[in-house]
């Protein structure tokens, strides 16, 4: 288990973003004017259609991209003054495609790679690796070659390799891509444990069900701006707004919207809730 060290001193903002603007070489503006705060222990999802700027935003948080203007503070320190390796100690970033990361001959080595790069002493490396292996349930696979694993397992290895650096914030880019329902739920359950232990989790996704089921805060991006920043319930009640960002709420929310005239509230985000509301309304005639 990763011990949670949420002392009062550590509580508060872990990421502060002020007036962030990012323009790619060639003149494409990916982020126009973004200001956000992330508190320690939050579980947030950054959503938006393709080209909305969500990956760009995430990459500015660990220094892979340097803002054109504006400021990113990581634990009160200016990110522009820190290297990617330094930032990796606080902000872990698991890429969408695990095959872009995996290169070692065993899962164990793969997970060791990060903490070793950061220069942690050997006993701490070992401790972090053990925790990461446990957090992603890879105990039986330690000696296996990562590239011979199934996609779901490969993704867990790549996430474990980020967790092993013991970052305060864990950013996951499209973690459910290519996973089946069961694998996704398994992964999300493991992320929840990490979150309960005090880690900040940020999902980047357009899988609205994932967001509805797991995130406690939804940030909708559209054309490089924050369109909405609320809890999932609030985020899914405004269909027009979501459409602006090329997003669709989960099927169950869409169904609820259609049943409004029959007395079903709009802000439903789970099938159980819908069933409950339908029963309470005395069924649908």
């Amino acid at each position: 288990m990763i011990p949670s060290i949420v002392s009062p001193l550590h509580e508060g903002k872990v990421i502060t973003i002020r007036n962030l603007k990012y323009v790619y070489e060639g003149g494409v503006t990916a982020l126009v004017e973004v200001s956000l705060d992330f508190k320690r222990g939050e579980y947030a999802a950054i959503v938006g259609g393709n080209g909305s700027g969500k990956t760009t935003l995430a990459k500015t948080l660990n220094g892979l991209l340097r803002p054109t203007s504006g400021q990113v503070l990581i634990e009160e320190r200016d990110a522009s003054q820190m290297t990617v390796a330094e930032l990796a100690k606080t902000v872990g970033y698991a890429f969408q495609n695990p095959d872009h990361q995996l290169f070692c001959s065993s899962v164990e080595e793969e997970i060791r790679f990060g903490p070793q790069n950061l220069g942690y002493p050997e006993d701490e490396v070992r401790k972090n690796v053990d925790r990461a292996v446990e957090a992603m349930a890879l105990g039986k696979l330690r000696a296996v070659a990562p590239l011979s694993l199934r996609l779901g397992e490969r993704r867990r290895v790549s996430i474990a390799s980020v967790i092993a650096m013991n970052p305060e914030v864990l950013i996951l880019d499209e973690p459910s891509t290519g996973l089946d329902n069961e694998e996704t739920e398994e992964l999300m359950a493991k992320l929840k444990v990490l979150n309960d232990e005090g880690k900040t989790i940020i999902l980047i996704t357009h899988d609205m069900r994932l967001v509805a089921d797991h995130a406690k805060r939804v940030i909708v991006l559209s054309q490089g701006r924050v369109l909405l920043d609320s809890d999932p319930r609030g985020a899914f009640s405004d269909l027009d707004l979501l459409r602006q960002s090329n997003l669709q709420p989960p099927a169950v929310t869409q169904l609820a919207h259609r049943l409004v005239e029959r007395g079903i509230p709009k802000d439903i985000i789970s099938p159980q809730e819908l069933v409950f509301q339908v029963l309470r309304a005395g069924g649908i005639k």
């Binding site: 660990n62 892979l64 990617v84 100690k89 095959d99 872009h100 995996l102 790679f113 790069n117």
Partner: protein
């Protein structure tokens, strides 16, 4: 964004863009041979002038051309500077320092070679600038290249930018795990690159695998006598251009090798 530099082709509707790609390939070969036949600086400058006229007719912008030929220009400067240092023949001697002798003819020989390199580079640039990769491969196949090889070439060209993007993404992914690519000595650095190289090769193999399945599922290689959606056909203008170009090579060649005119 990334990797856009790999394909120099710029679509436009000019005479050179419309020219049959086979004629263009032949033209480039002929002009390249011509650049080697000519040995006078004056005639080479004339050739360079002609090539630049073609470049102008293809509506190439100066900034793009300079960007594409950046390395060639540096190479040319290098030739002009180094040639006199290593070629002590001829008189008058302009300067002498120990074993190094700078002579006037050597300087001109350096400039001549630089102009020749300029001709060669620019003429190939025009081909790449006015011909899409697909047309290029189509023409090579028409000229007798086996279709398999043509397709292989086309796929390689097509995937260059894709792999450019892929490598950037892999580098980012490893940097996010604390890898510092430019840190340490030569050994450490090459070891660092293993972390980029392995995922790149694995991804390339996976892509190749998928691609071969995609080709098979579209019945690639089902018949040896495959047909083509777009047939290349020579128009009168193409024949005129071809004739002019052949004349452009044959006349100086005859003058030089049969009439022994110094050109």
């Amino acid at each position: 964004m990334t990797g856009g530099f790999v394909d120099l082709f710029t679509p436009a509707d000019t005479f050179l863009h419309r020219l049959d790609p086979r004629v263009k390939i032949i033209a480039v070969l002929l002009l390249s041979v011509l650049a080697f036949i000519l040995s006078n600086l004056d005639s080479l400058l004339l050739l360079l002038g002609f090539i630049f006229l073609l470049l102008f007719l293809a509506r190439a912008t100066l900034s793009r051309t300079l960007f594409a030929l950046k390395f060639v220009v540096r190479f040319m400067v290098l030739i002009v500077v180094l040639w006199p240092l290593f070629d002590p023949s001829g008189t008058p001697v302009l300067a002498e320092l120990g074993p190094v002798k700078i002579t006037e003819p050597a300087i001109w020989r350096g400039v001549t070679s630089a102009v020749r390199v300029g001709c060669l580079a620019t003429v190939w640039y025009i081909l790449m600038f006015t011909t899409s990769q697909r047309d290029l491969v189509r023409a090579l196949v028409k000229l007798g290249l086996r279709f398999d090889y043509g397709l292989t070439l086309a796929i390689s060209l097509r995937f260059l930018p894709t792999f450019g993007v892929l490598i950037e993404s892999i580098k980012d992914a490893q940097r996010a795990r604390g890898l510092e690519l430019s840190k340490g000595g030569l050994v450490r650095r090459s070891k660092n690159y293993v972390a980029v190289l392995v995922p790149t090769i694995v991804s390339a193999l996976r892509t190749a695998d998928t691609l071969s399945l995609a080709l098979q599922s579209r019945a690639y290689g089902a018949r040896a006598d495959r047909t083509y959606l777009r047939e290349l056909s020579m128009r009168p203008a193409d024949y005129v251009a071809l004739t002019v170009l052949v004349a452009l090579l044959v006349l100086p060649a005859v003058a030089k090798f049969l009439l022994h005119v110094q050109i």
